[in-house]
Amino acid sequence: MPIPTRHFDALIIGAGGAGLNAALQLAGAETSVAVVSKVFPTRSHTVAAQGGVNAALANVLPDNWHWHMFDTVKGSDYLGDQDAIEFMCREAIPTVYELEHAGVPFSRLDNGKIYQRAFGGQSQDFGGDQAARTCAAADRTGHAILHTLYQQNIRAKTHFFDEYFALDLVRDKEGVISGALVLEIETGEPLLIEAKATLLATGGCGQVFRTTSNAHINTGDGCAMTLRAGIPLMDMEFYQFHPTGIAGKGLLITEGVRGEGGFLVNKDGERFMERYAPRAKDLASRDVVARSIVTEVKEGRGAGENADYVLLKLDHLGADVIDKRLPGIRESSRIFAGADPIREPIPVFPTAHYQMGGIPTDRFGRVVIPARYGSEEIISGLYAAGECACASVHGANRLGGNSLLDILVFGRLAGKDIIEYVRANPHRRETDPASLEQAMARLTRWERTGDGVPAHQLKAEFRKCMEDHAGVFRTEEVMAEGYGKLCELRERFKDARLADQSKVFNTARIEALELENLIDVGLAIAVSALNRKESRGAHSRPDYPSRDDINWMKHSLYYRDGDRLDYKPVRTKPLTVESFPPKERVY
């Protein structure tokens, strides 16, 4: 039976901030645009972003985009592409004003201008005094942005396919991407959406790790589709971990707890950070604290029944201080850890938070790969934006306030570029039946019955393996062992089966499809990390403790085929200003 087909100028997969901002540009230009989202759009993970958006508006303190650029290059540990960073920091200003005009209720100063708060890693005058650069809508910035963009899209008549799961990209006979095969979750029926341009905006992949702050929906779907299309993922070894997530749950416990005098202890009640960082102790840098926690657990000094976490103690601060200065922490701990921190410590473990790498793009959101004519050849008609993409503005580590900025700037610019692309390429592309069949096979494989390991059983094992072997503790020995286990898991997954063969809202099937995506993306992280023999930004290796600019100031490119790696140079030349040469990163 033929698969029903719909046609649009542009297809956007993912309805977070990046996807919706791109869609808004397209719908406003009277380009027909479809947005596919596996959950209702306002339940996208952007809704969880509380911090804000960096833009050098200079409303509170002197500022300019060039200082913002300096901070971002430095924060990236010099792995960020300086042309893309300059572009983002310049574009931040009109992007924020555009959002303001669209109706985002930014917090205000008494003079009516947008309020801006100070965040870590921000400076005035190239490393001088603290800057105030982050625009926020109280503590619900992501929510405000997502809702504003969604409502504007409804007004602009963007076509939404809510609760549709993207299975795979498809191509025409010339090999050009012609859209995607998607699955209607409610009916279990496939739908082919053909488009002249396709934008992947599917967000991060935090669910790769057992302990993560990411919602369950963050399963790296766009990244995995890209890998299966033969396109590499870039810099996937750079994954940001927060040292203190609620053990077993992943929810963040802010660093403010330790800033207010809270401290970490092991099962013996020892303040172990005194051994790892005698001066800074519990206020040492994130990677040091995270690795110390994991070391305590690995060496048998973890607390709890399974000895798999440490304890964050703050009862000595007293109820008044906890309630006044750390609002929300007490409630979070009580609900999710069953521990009231006024009386008992919070069980914590490092939690996976943000993916710096992703689908390689240029600053217009166009997917680029090494090809015959250079290291960055454009793939016609394919775009990516947001956390799943890597325009290389975060390099080896992301600054607070730059993630919402990334999704908004590059979502907006990708949308604008797609408008031009569609005008220049107005003809419909017909999907090659062989490509469609290949995409359908992803779905039909789950119709096989008989013996085989239940798919859901492999999920916990996989995520634990990623946490143990590709998380914060990265030595050659640990990672090589992990790679072996992951390869074995990947093989076992090929024989996985589903007990539930129903069609309507078969969430077990969706979760199996997501697990396949997680395994593909997890391998990208593990292989890239194993092979980068230096410490830079979020990638921290005790066996190679220094940054090595001579050999490793380059981007990793992981290909799924044969777990192959390639590398390409960092773009150190900005668009209009002088380069910032690598320096030791001191704060």
Binding site: F40, A48, I335, F336
Partner: protein, 99 residues
Amino acid sequence: MTDPTPIPDPDGVTDEEIRRLRWQCRRGMLELDHLLLPFLDRDQGYRALDPVRRAEFVALLGQQDQDLSNWFMARRVPEDPRVHELTQHILAVVAAYKS
């Protein structure tokens, strides 16, 4: 603004209803995943509610993530006392499971 949500079967809880609701319990915020999905799965959770309460749970799923988070995390109290009761009940069921 609330999202579209399905209507529960008045005669009893069907597997299809649970599957449908499971997807509605997938949210943009991890804390909501950790509350709504276990509530759906526990014997004393959704399946133990009477039809009126089940309809209220379905209506709750139509609320915005930010509001749900504020209510569960005690940052705000819902205006409707029935909603407040339900959020407290969900917290109690999930807490009982943990202990």
